[in-house]
């Protein structure tokens, strides 16, 4: 008998994704402003240029009609080359997941959020003390990401600092063995990139499957102002060759690495991102790419990096429109408070509007729930608090149900004036869904509990109980073999 019964699942079910879907839009830039910004980017690319400290890139760009100054490594881009190359980039494509039910189709109107990354410090969930981050933290956060419907894909939330030069590959391993969702890494350098492609191929099953439903995407940071990173370019070219989506991210800081005006910083950032995308389209036409600008400020008193300013909305979501104006998907910046601790007024006031404005701007990909202290510090409860803000925004942007059942005119007539609805069957039927309880609605002895405490409990529960479907043993063994090989060759 027991042979014919389905065995009980030995792993936790990953709940279906709940991306923010909204048909409503906020325009941060009007058409005229978008044209002017794009024209300014083209002018900077043509007149000022971008530094490409990488021979292969210089060769590709030079062969395609760009002006290359070998001595300075600065490349100037004729505008027709830029326009021709950008026309090759796909507007829509799919990011694959280990489990196809969690594939992400990148199209406007659906925004998938990720965990934040890549922090360096952790509040240890056992001791409560701060320590450097380790691979086990990445694995723990992969399980948390797997358990939350708000998380569409996974970034290495913190760095696997205990894994030396191959930390980026170990972060991939920790993710693939602990979540069925898509993983986006920040792998740099040719050697690491080739190992990463090999790992992603193992997870996908074949090179063709990887190209069809890439279970990995990679994010490359440029160096403001107007320079690319050698290791980043190496990695981008390896990834693009394998069909892995590559995003370019510029992080211009107003007043230090960019002009002190937002529009000027966007121009610098856009020129950096577009120069990288043009390189990939010239090298591998049609390669899937995405565009990201995350503007920050220098505190004029200290020079310190400040992620949130008073005008964060424009700073974070105007670039979504810039990306879409170029015809490529956007990775927008949400969350990542400057608060030094989780659960403070600042930790909510910095980020509370992010998922709402992000959803209204319509980016396809959005960072990143879960870190404090400007993307550097992981508190166990942080992502659960951010998740609460995410769900609040998601519900606000849902279409309201208005029909005969929800208008309830017969019930209103029945109750009339001066009565109450407590005894109505309609109330019994709908009350369970009319109030969606959040962290702040957990009642004990008639009193609402502190939402921070509730978030901590949820973190502990997931840590103890959520164990997603494991990676097939053969694939896990293969990943370990690749990691061993990487350690042997990269140190």
């Amino acid at each position: 008998m027991t042979d014919t019964m389905d065995p009980a699942p030995t792993f936790s079910v990953t709940p279906p994704l709940e991306p923010i879907r909204s048909t409503r839009r906020v325009r941060f830039l009007d058409d005229d402003q978008l044209v002017r910004l794009q024209e300014a980017t083209l002018t900077v690319l043509e007149d000022v240029g971008v530094r490409f400290p990488n021979d292969a890139s210089l060769r590709i760009l030079g062969d395609s009609g760009c002006g290359v100054d070998v001595a300075t490594q600065v490349v100037r881009f004729p505008r027709d080359v830029v326009r021709r190359a950008m026309a090759l980039a796909p507007r829509s494509y799919t990011l694959g997941a280990r489990n196809p039910a969690f594939d992400l189709v990148l199209e406007e109107g659906t925004s998938y959020f990720t965990t934040d990354g890549c922090g360096v410090a952790v509040i240890d969930p056992d001791t409560g003390l701060e320590r450097p981050s380790r691979k086990e933290d990445v694995a723990r956060m992969a399980r948390v990401a797997d358990s939350l419907p708000s998380i569409g894909f996974m970034w290495p939330t913190v760095s696997a600092q205990d894994c030396g030069a191959t930390s980026q590959l170990h972060e991939m391993d920790a993710a693939y063995t602990n979540t069925v969702k898509h993983f986006q890494g920040m792998v740099m350098g040719e050697a690491a990139a080739r190992f990463a492609v090999e790992m992603a191929t193992v997870v996908a099953g074949s090179r063709e499957a990887l190209r069809d439903r890439p279970a990995f995407s990679n994010l490359i940071c440029s160096i403001a102002p107007l320079a690319q990173d050698h290791a980043g370019l190496e990695s981008a070219l390896v990834m693009a060759e394998a069909g892995i989506p590559v995003g370019f991210l510029s992080m211009p800081t107003l007043g230090t690495t960019a002009p002190s005006t937002s529009a000027g910083a966007f121009v610098v950032g856009d020129a950096e991102v577009i120069s990288g995308i043009v390189l990939l389209q010239l090298a591998y036409p049609g390669t899937p790419v995405f565009h990201s600008i995350m503007k920050a400020h220098a505190d004029p008193r200290t020079g310190a990096y400040v992620g949130y300013s008073i005008d964060s909305g424009i700073a974070r979501y105007a670039p979504v429109e810039i990306a879409h104006h170029w015809g490529v998907p956007s990775l927008a910046a949400c969350f990542g408070t400057d608060s030094t601790a989780a659960g403070t007024w600042l930790a909510a006031s910095d980020v509370a509007l992010d998922p709402l404005l992000g959803g209204l701007a319509g980016p396809e990909l959005v960072t990143g729930l879960g870190l404090d202290r400007t993307y550097t510090l992981l508190y166990p409860e942080g992502i659960f608090l951010d998740n609460e803000l995410y769900q609040r925004a998601r519900h606000s942007l849902m279409r309201m149900e208005i029909d005969d059942e929800t208008l309830a005119l017969d019930v209103i007539a029945n109750v009339g004036s001066g009565g109450h609805y407590l005894a109505e069957e309609h109330t019994r039927k709908h009350m369970r869904t009319s109030l969606k309880r959040g962290l702040e609605h957990d009642l004990v002895n008639g009193r609402y509990r502190d939402p921070i405490e509730v978030a901590r409990e949820r973190a502990a529960w997931v840590r103890a109980n959520h164990h997603p479907e494991p990676l097939e043993t053969a694939k896990a063994v293969e990943l370990t073999r690749i990691l061993d090989a990487a350690r042997a060759s990269m140190g």
Binding site: Q33, L37, A40, V50, V74, P225, A227, T256, T257, A258, P259, S260, T261, A263, G264, V267, H297, D299, P300, S309, I310, G313, G343, T344, W345, A348, S349, L353, L356, L360, R392, H395, S396, M400, E401, I402, D403, T406, L407, A408, L409, A413, G416, S417, G418, Y421, L422, R428, K429, H430, M431, S434, L435, K436, G438, E440, H441, Y448, P451, I452
Partner: protein
């Protein structure tokens, strides 16, 4: 938030409720007014029903835009949808005392203190007496007005003046402040908010006050606080339809009796917690109702007072307060709400902790800047500066940087460090801000003659209350 079809469905539901169910009107005087203007009145059950044509023709008389006057014209508020003006919350009943840290009943002095703090904060567009002048139990509303007018030059909106007689005193105060009857009608320094009683009932004193205000040209708003599941249907749409019917029934009366009187529509629904029966001002599922209320007001062709702050949190300056406050303010700002209220109170609008108003003002500033237009002029694009710096330089030496950094806006509450380098909590900065403002900020005083006249009106109200046996208070 709602498409045209949904707005039409909601409007049809409101008209059907008003025609077939009606509203309970306890005041005979008010019922007679309804009857005289064509409503279907059942005096025995005190229910008034309104036919759709009567509703539509009455609401059509209400002005879409008008001005709420400040004590000084610089603080006039033109309600035309080009800006959202936000008021303090009200009307709390308890205060965390600044000296002792203990919770106590609120007094006139608290109304006055917070009027001064509000006067100093650009985020506060107009002032609701934030707490009750409970040291004057019988005449608290006029004492709240007196304390407000003495301590801010901004527009004041009362949500506590009830009954024809008290409203008459309030109108007299507004007339004195404005200087003349004509000036009061043109730039009324006072507006009022009257709450309906859900489901589908009116407060007799509230409606009598509304008619007095409307006659004088003082803007009147009607608010519904239907609680989804207890005093309203357990679905958000049903709760909105019922709340709208309550508001429109009252606005119709105002327009029938005083055609063209300035009015506004205010939808502040809650969601019942089924385990406690309590009214939750914020919940994931209920947030959209506030934005929907803005659009419903505009579909009727009247301005709105939107629910834009308000938190169920008990502690000031914590995660929950900020988490619950930001979304509605942004949504209602995007939807073109003319006015909103709710800054500065905790515990479902009942508890004043002074620094919360400063913290809320910081959130307001963030939203205001988020929704501002990006500057893409050539100076802001800075192509000449980008050319000069080129790849891999830095911008620290550029004159453009110096100018830009000076113009940059940072929160006044965050990023502060103590001399030892430790971060100063925003709540502590906010508390120090309140202390400083109460020490230093003294708005332009009332003209002496006006001040004396206002005091005389309030004294008269006190004397009346004593004569009635109610007592004039402290």
């Amino acid at each position: 938030m709602l498409d045209d079809g949904q707005l039409a469905d909601l409007r049809a539901a409101t008209l059907e409720i008003l025609e077939t169910v009606g509203v309970h009107v306890p005041s005979e005087r008010v019922r007679r007014e309804y009857e005289a203007h064509g409503a279907l009145v059942d005096h025995a059950s005190r229910v008034v029903r309104l036919l759709p044509d009567l509703v539509l023709s009455a609401v059509a008389r209400a002005p879409r835009t008008y001005t709420m006057g400040g004590r000084t014209p610089d603080f006039d508020l033109l309600l035309d949808g080009s800006a959202l003006y936000v008021a303090t919350d009200g009307c709390g009943i308890r205060v965390v005392d600044r000296e002792t840290g203990r919770v106590r009943a609120s007094t006139t002095a608290d109304v006055a203190d917070m009027a001064r703090v509000s006067d100093a904060l650009p985020a506060v567009g107009f002032y609701w007496p934030i707490v009750s002048a409970s040291d004057h139990p019988a005449t608290a509303p006029v004492h709240e007005l007196l304390a407000s007018y003495r301590n801010t030059v901004k527009h004041v909106q009362t949500e506590t003046v009830m009954g024809a007689r008290m409203a008459g005193h309030a109108v007299e105060m507004a007339r004195v402040l404005a200087g003349s009857e004509a000036a009061m009608r043109q730039r009324p320094p006072l507006s009022s908010l009257i709450c309906a009683i859900s489901p589908l009932a009116q407060d007799d004193e509230g409606m009598e006050a509304a008619l007095v205000f409307a006659e004088a040209g003082v803007p009147v708003g009607i608010m519904s606080m239907a609680n989804c599941g207890s005093t309203g249907p357990a679905t958000i749409a049903g709760n909105l339809a019922q709340g709208d019917a309550e508001i429109i029934a009252a606005l119709v009366l105002v327009q029938l009796v005083h055609p063209g009187a300035p009015v506004f529509h205010s939808m502040m629904p809650g969601v019942m917690d089924p385990r406690t029966g309590g009214f939750l001002t914020t919940s994931m599922s209920g947030e959209a109702a506030y934005g929907a209320g803005v659009e419903m007001a505009h579909a009727w062709g009247v301005p709105t007072l939107a629910g834009v702050f308000g938190t169920d949190a008990l502690e000031p300056g914590g995660w929950q307060v900020a988490a619950e406050s930001a979304v509605n303010l942004t949504l209602c700002g995007l939807l073109g709400a003319e006015t909103g209220s709710g800054m500065g109170l905790l515990d479902a609008c009942t508890l004043l902790v002074h620094e919360q108003l400063v913290l809320d003002a910081d959130l307001h500033e963030r939203v205001r800047m988020d929704l501002a237009r990006l500057d893409t002029t050539p100076a802001a694009m800075a192509l000449d500066v980008i050319r000069e710096v080129g790849p891999r330089g830095h911008y620290l030496y550029q004159p453009h940087t110096r100018e830009g950094l000076r113009a940059m806006r940072f929160s006044s509450l965050t990023g502060r460090r103590a001399p030892d380098g430790t971060v100063v909590e925003p709540r502590d900065v906010a508390r120090a801000t309140v202390d400083r403002l109460l020490l230093e900020h003294h708005p332009e005083p009332l003209d002496e003659r006006v001040a004396a006249e206002l005091a005389r009106i309030v004294a008269a109200a006190d004397a009346e209350a004593v004569a009635d046996g109610g007592g004039g208070g402290a």
